[in-house]
């Protein structure tokens, strides 16, 4: 089982949360928003790859075409 991706996503989430609050304290709201959006995009890419793996596996196991 590959736990790496879970830790990666959680790490990205924690880092984004920390920098978001720092940027917000520094009155850089627009940069903070941009950071949040880019974090979501990055994680979405990772999750998309995982989901495509899952769909391919299910298709091959259950002979769905």
């Amino acid at each position: 089982m590959n736990m790496l991706q879970i830790f990666q996503i959680a790490g990205i989430g924690i880092v984004v949360a920390i920098f978001y609050s720092i940027l917000k304290e520094a009155k850089r709201e627009e940069l903070a928003q941009l950071l949040a959006i880019s974090g979501v995009a990055l994680v979405t890419l990772m999750v998309l790859r995982l989901i495509s793996d899952l769909f391919n596996e299910v298709r091959s196991v259950f002979s769905l075409y």
Partner: protein, 133 residues
Amino acid sequence: MEILQVVGVGIIATVLLVIVRKQRPELAVQLSIAAGVILFLFVLTKISAVIQVLEDLANKAQINRYYLTTLLKIVGVAYIAEFGAQICRDAGESTIATKVELAAKILVMVLALPIIMALMDSLLTLLPGGGPS
């Protein structure tokens, strides 16, 4: 003892989720999707062994292969639909989850139609005086 691995992954993912969810709920959804996919992929390798045994049994009983593949397809559709609906419901979108489940039911019905028709045909041939001659 694979169950220990599964429970360990579940607990670790839950702890990380609780940390992340407070600040960034949108990343928490992604994290829960990733944890679900990893657990599912792990179980899927076991399911393939079970399916192998089922195919051997079907070969021994000389059942038409078409029925077994249809059955497997239905199980696959149900698994995938359940997975997607659970994710939608986790994120608080139970409307979309209901739609996903409805679509899965309809697709399963479409897959099952040929089997139902075959059953009807064999029933009709059993009836006295009826059936396609």
